[in-house]
Amino acid sequence: MSGGPRIVSARWEIDDAWKLSRYLETGGYAGLRSALDMTPHEVHEEVRSATLLGRGGAGFPAGVKWGFCPPDVWPRYLVVNGDESEPGTYKDRILMERDPHQLIEGALICAYATGIAQVFLYVRGEMALAQERVASALNEAYEAGYIGRRILGTDFSVDVVMHWGAGAYIVGEETALIESLEGDRGMPRLKPPFFPAAKGLYMKPTIVNNVETLSNLPWILEHGSEAYTTIGSESSPGTRLFAISGHVERPGVHEVPQGVTTFRDLIYGDEYCGGIRKGHELKMFIPGGGSAPWFFPEHLDLPLEGKVVGGAGSMLGSGAIVVMDETTDAVSACWRLMRFFSRESCGECTPCREGTNWLETILRRILDGQGRPDDIDLLLDIGDNISPGPYPGPGWGAENPEPVPFPPQQTTICPLGPSAVAPLTSAIRRFRDEFEAKIAQGAAVSV
C-alpha cells in the first residue's frame, strides 16, 4: 500500500477492525449517522452526485441504478453481491474479512436511501473466514442497535441477513444470484424483463450491489460527494481496489485513485508491485479479470479508468490485473481460461454450453500435440458462433489492426458465453504464430 487516499482499505492494517469496538474507535458508523440526519432523497442525491461506479464488473453508477426501482412497488430488497469469483479478482473477500462493518454500514445507507427493509448479504460459499467475520459483525451490530428495529433511535428499521453460497461462479451474475437466493439452481434470468430493479427477488424491485461499491458509502456520506469527486478523474471519481497478480516482483492488492494512476504505475511502481519479476519482461496482461481481452506492453500507459480502457478494447472489469512475462505460453493460458468458462457455464444456452466446451477441447488437443492445421480458424469460427465477430478471415491477426470486438455481442441469456470468446480472440490475434507453431510441433511429433 502506498500514500494516496485510502477510502475502503483504511482499516486493513488494523488486525481487529472487524470488531465493533475497534470499528467505532476508528470512525465507524459516522457515515450512517450523517445519512440518518438527512432525508432518504438527500442521501440518494449525494450518492448520485458522487458518481459511484459499480465495482462488480459493469461499472454502472450506483445512484442511477437505485433510481430504477419503480416508485410505487413495495417491498424492495437489497442483495449484496459477495460472490467474488472472477479469475484474478481478490478484494471483496478482504473487505468482508477485514472490515465487515464498513460493508454493513454501506448496505444500511443504501437501504435507508431507497426504502429497503430487508438486506441479504450473499457471501461466496468457499469463504469460511469471511462468513465468520460477517456473521460476528452482524451479531454485534444487532446487539448495539445499528441493525434491527428503530436504528439509533430513528424510525429506520432494517434486517440484514447473511446468506452463503455453495460454489458456482455464475451465481455472481445478479439474476443468478437472485435465483440462488430463492433456493434454486443459479441460472441467470433473461433481461429484459427480469432487471432486478424491476423484477428481482420474489419478483420485487431489488438492488444488487457489489461489496466494494457499498463499502465506499460510509466515506461518501461522512465526507460528502464533493470531497469524493476531488479524488480520481471526472468520469471515474474516487478510488478503486486492484489485485495485481502473476509475474510481478510483489503481487498485491492496492487502492488507488481511478483515472490518474496507470497500469505502468501499478505494475512497475516501487510503492506497488516493483516491476516484472527479475530477469524477465512483460509479454501481456489481463486488465480486468478472466473475461477481459488481453492488453500488451503498448497499453501500459493507459490510466485506470473504465472509459479509457473500454475505448482501447478491453475493460477494467473487477479490478483484476494478471501480469504475464515472456515465459508464459499463450496457448496454455488461453486453455486454462477456456476451461474455466466451460466448467462454469450454467448450461442454459446452447452457444455457451457447447461452444465453451469445444474451445477448451480444441485448445487441449493443440497442447497435447494433436492440433490440426485449421484449428485456429475453427476456434475463431466457434467464437463467432457464440458471439458474432466480425473476425476477418484467415489473414486476421497480428498484422491486421482490426481489434477484437468488445464488448462482445450478447447472444445468450447472460454475458458469460460471449465473455469467453473475447480473451481468446485477443490472444489469437496477437500470437497466431505461437498457436501455429504449437500445431506444427504436434504434427512433427506425431508423424
Binding site: H41, W164, P251
Partner: protein, 212 residues
C-alpha cells in the same frame, strides 16, 4: 442413514425464520446437513425438503448445481488446489501434480483412509498469494511442495484441528438475531411503504421512479 438431529432441526427453523420464503433457506440448510454428516445424505435432504416445503427432487435439483455439495462421502479434509490463471502462472499445476503424487489420487477422489479428498478448483480469490490452496475452505498461501507435505503431516497429527474443522463446517459463528430485535422479515406481499420513506413523503421521488 442419519436424519437431521433435533438440534439441527431447531437451527434450521431459526435460519428459515429469517427469510420471507422458506425455500430461500435451502442452500444454508443443505450446508447444515453437510456440517452434520460431512456430505449430503438422502435422508437429510428429505428432511430439508420437508422443512422448506419442496419435494426431495427439487432439493437434489438445487444441490447438484453447486460444487460444494457432496452427494457421496468425502475425506475429512477436502484439499482444493487452485489452478486458475494467477496460480497457474506461479506453479499451481506443479503443486497439483505434487499433491496427486503425494496422496496417490487424482482430483475428485479420496484417499483410502478417508482422510483426504483432492480437488482441482477455479479461482478462490487469493490470486496475489499464488499458488494457493484451501483445506476445508481455509486458506494456505504461496504453497511450495515442502509446505504441502508439512500441511498434510500437520493435518494427520491433528495439529491444525483448531483452525480447520472437519469437512462440512463453514462459519463457526452462526448469525443470531436476538428476539425482539428483528425489524421486518419482509414478505413480498407486504406492500406497505416503509415509515421513514412515508415520513419524507414530499420526497417520494427519492425512492426511485427515475426513467429507466
Amino acid at each position: 442413514m442419519p436424519r437431521l438431529t433435533p438440534e439441527n432441526v431447531r437451527r434450521a427453523k431459526e435460519i428459515i425464520s429469517r427469510y420471507p420464503r422458506p425455500r430461500s433457506a435451502l442452500i444454508p440448510l443443505l450446508h447444515l446437513a453437510q456440517e452434520q454428516d460431512g456430505w449430503l445424505t438422502e435422508d437429510a435432504m428429505e428432511d430439508v425438503a420437508e422443512l422448506v416445503g419442496v419435494t426431495p427432487a427439487q432439493v437434489i435439483g438445487t444441490a447438484s448445481f453447486y460444487e460444494m455439495f457432496k452427494m457421496e462421502p468425502v475425506g475429512r479434509y477436502v484439499i482444493n488446489v487452485c489452478t486458475n490463471i494467477s496460480c497457474l502462472l506461479l506453479g499451481g499445476e506443479t503443486l497439483l501434480q505434487h499433491a496427486e503424487a503425494t496422496l496417490g489420487i487424482k482430483p475428485g477422489s479420496t484417499t483410502e483412509d478417508g482422510l483426504f479428498t483432492l480437488e482441482d478448483v477455479e479461482c478462490v480469490a487469493a490470486c496475489t498469494e499464488a499458488p494457493c490452496l484451501q483445506v476445508n475452505y481455509r486458506y494456505f498461501y504461496r504453497v511450495t511442495n515442502d509446505d504441502f507435505d508439512r500441511i498434510l503431516a500437520d493435518l494427520r497429527d491433528g495439529d491444525l484441528s483448531r483452525d480447520i474443522p472437519e469437512h462440512g463446517i463453514l462459519s463457526r459463528v452462526p448469525q443470531r438475531i436476538p428476539t425482539g430485535k428483528v425489524a421486518n422479515i419482509t414478505p413480498p406481499e407486504d406492500q406497505r411503504v416503509p415509515v421513514w420513506i412515508e415520513r419524507a413523503a414530499p420526497d417520494k421521488a427519492a425512492a426511485g421512479g427515475d426513467e429507466a
